[in-house]
């Protein structure tokens, strides 16, 4: 990181400083439009975590995973069970989050191990099934012993606390009101930075190259000496751990978890973020995640009033329009930008080469 900063020229440094300032003041700007927007922003960052985690599996290693939300669910439930009145446990978050990551990691390997020989469609079907199984378990593990509290979910989940400093409560510092969501935002921002650095480093490492090699040609990767079984398992494990961490944070921020949050559409949504943004490219994936989290919210807040202003009543439900626009956008992107909005540098380089060739 240090040499990354020193390697930047003056112009880039200024740009970076501006982005940093913008990110710091952003929640206050949004808060003036309503705290709901800060919450939306926080959930968008959680989606970025998820998309980056899934990107390891799908983008780097090329393994199609349609059940990724299961690891988010595992992380969320681990947190909920260990920090709520449900079992009367109230462990601190810095204990639970690593536990959640570890449990999700194990779940990732449980999913990965039997599916290592599968690829493409078959892998997609098995992972889809896995995601559903986890959700069904959460839904039904209330009988005979009440573990998950079934469809009702778990409520009154603890927020993150360090001593008497509670991220879930408002505080006033220097005349500024730091609401719970704003405090969580700063935490998420720090974690996001760490997640980006980790992803980037993984990508540029021996392991990252092995993932891409497997994606490109598994047989050649084997012959070149890569233990494809272990390296694929590692991709599942790493991706799952990210999901587990995000899940724990989700549970704390939301204060409530139920199986409903972890349905198949969520998995496909995260996959869409990865694909739309540009599989394999960290920045593309981030852009995809932000886009797909924010645009629907914008629509939610604009569609209804606009229709009411125009027709006096709502003709199309915002939810319907949301899915319609989402679908059209996805089809158009795949038709005209098959590598995503912001493809991996490799793909971009290749496209530039093609364009130059045409001149």
């Amino acid at each position: 990181m240090a040499n990354f900063i020193t390697s930047l020229d003056k112009k880039n440094k200024l740009g970076l400083a501006l982005i940093a300032v913008a990110l710091i003041v952003l929640p206050f700007v949004l808060a003036s439009a309503g705290t709901a927007w800060v919450r939306i922003l926080n959930f968008a960052i959680l989606y970025v975590f998820l998309a980056l985690g899934l990107n390891i599996v799908v983008g780097f290693a090329g393994l199609l995973d349609l059940g990724y939300i299961a690891f988010y669910a595992v992380g969320a439930y681990v947190y909920a069970l260990l920090a709520s009145p449900h079992f009367g446990l109230h462990l601190p978050f810095w204990v639970i989050i690593p536990i959640g990551a570890a449990v999700a990691c194990v779940a990732g390997m449980v999913l990965g191990a039997p599916t290592l020989k599968l690829r493409g469609d078959y892998l997609a079907i098995v992972t889809l099934g896995f995601g559903e199984i986890v959700r069904v378990f959460m839904n039904n593990l209330s009988n005979p012993i009440n573990v998950t509290n079934g469809p009702k979910g778990i409520t009154l989940i603890d927020s993150f606390k360090i001593g008497s400093f509670d991220l879930g409560k408002s505080d006033v510092f220097g005349g500024l009101i730091f609401s719970g969501p704003i405090k969580y935002y700063y935490l998420l921002l720090i974690v996001l930075l760490a997640v980006i650095v980790i992803n980037k480093r993984l990508q540029d490492s021996r392991i990252g190259r092995a993932w891409v090699a497997i994606r490109e040609d598994e047989v050649a990767a084997k012959a070149a000496g890569i233990n494809t079984r272990n390296i694929k398992l590692l991709a599942f494990a790493m991706g799952a751990s990210f999901g587990g961490i995000a899940g724990g944070m989700f549970a704390a921020i939301q204060g409530f978890v139920s199986p409903e949050s972890f349905v198949l559409t969520e998995s496909t949504m995260i996959l869409a973020m990865v694909v739309l943004g540009g599989m394999g490219n960290i920045w593309g994936v981030i852009a995809g995640a932000l886009l797909l989290s924010f645009v629907p919210e914008l629509l939610r807040y604009t569609v209804q009033p606009v229709q009411e202003a125009l027709f006096g009543h709502a003709i199309i439900e915002p939810e319907v329009l949301r899915m319609l626009i989402f679908g059209i956008a996805l089809v158009l992107t795949m038709r005209f930008m098959p590598a995503g909005l912001w493809p991996e540098a490799r793909h971009r380089r290749e496209m530039e080469a093609k364009r130059e060739g045409k001149k």
Binding site: I198, S205, V219, A220, K222, A223, A224, E344, A353
Partner: protein
């Protein structure tokens, strides 16, 4: 070199492989000595590529064993085969197309390096040192095979001849003792073939052993110390090129199928 030339590096014992009704390999036994260039020839469909696939663990054999430096090879695990020192190229080039030439070779270093996820995440001193070493070695190898000027290009954008060379560089990156090349001259023009020949001779001069499948009989005869001939999955001859060339069975095998 002459002191070790008779030492056996690899020995195949009665290797057999069937595909449904096709007996692609039948009781194939051959001995490759350290530091020789060993040719494997035979008509199309004779089983040469299948032998490579069995040897490198990509196909599971039905019979037989392979000894490498006196130890039985674990033929069910390709990366294990690479680790003990056998590297290969493919008849129909298999590069990592969307990785750069450089990255392709760097992947070849995987089996000789050790850094894990933790090292990568924290960019430990050891990890940075290893990455630098991987990069250095990959650069060396790109120079060695003569594609250094294409280092940052995507493998799939390289010319056919360069792709063949790059694949050899990737194989060499695994520090093999035995380099197995499957028709490396296929599709090359005369100049490229001459360059390839120099490259293979250089590899041998550096102490490696080469197992060469080749269709270009002239290249094989000029380059190889010894040659084995496969026909319908069976070894029908194994000797120095001059003797093999004069073998009536070999002549018949080639004439009998010389439809191309």
């Amino acid at each position: 070199m002459s002191a070790t030339i008779n030492e056996v590096l690899m020995e195949a014992r009665g290797v057999g492989k069937r595909f449904g009704g096709v007996q692609a390999l039948k009781d194939v036994s051959l001995t490759i000595r350290r530091n020789e260039i060993y040719g494997l020839i035979g008509p199309n469909g004779a089983g040469k590529t299948t032998f490579f696939n069995v040897l490198t663990g990509l196909y599971q054999r039905d019979d037989g064993d392979v000894l490498f430096e006196g130890n039985v090879l674990n033929l069910t695990s390709p990366h294990e085969v690479a680790r003990v020192g056998i590297a290969r190229t493919f008849q129909n080039i298999r590069l990592f197309g969307n990785m750069t030439a450089m990255e392709n070779v760097m992947v070849g270093r995987h089996v000789r390096t050790h850094q894990n996820v933790i090292g990568a995440i924290f960019r430990t001193k050891a990890e940075r040192a290893e990455e630098a070493a991987i990069r250095r070695r990959a650069e060396e190898l790109l120079h060695y095979v003569g594609v250094a000027d294409r280092a940052q290009d995507l493998a799939k954008n390289l010319s056919y001849g360069d792709q063949r060379r790059l694949e050899i560089a990737r194989a060499l990156a695994t520090d093999p003792k035995l380099l197995a090349l499957d028709e490396p001259a296929a599709g090359m023009n005369a100049t490229e073939t001459a360059g390839l020949r120099t490259l293979i001779e250089g590899v041998r001069a550096d102490g490696l052993t080469v197992l060469l499948i080749e269709h270009d009989v002239k290249l094989v005869m000029g380059l190889c110390d010894r040659v084995a001939v496969l026909d319908y999955g069976q070894k029908i001859a194994e000797d120095v090129p001059a003797v093999v060339r004069a073998n009536p069975k070999v002549i018949e095998a080639y004439i009998g199928t010389s439809t191309h």
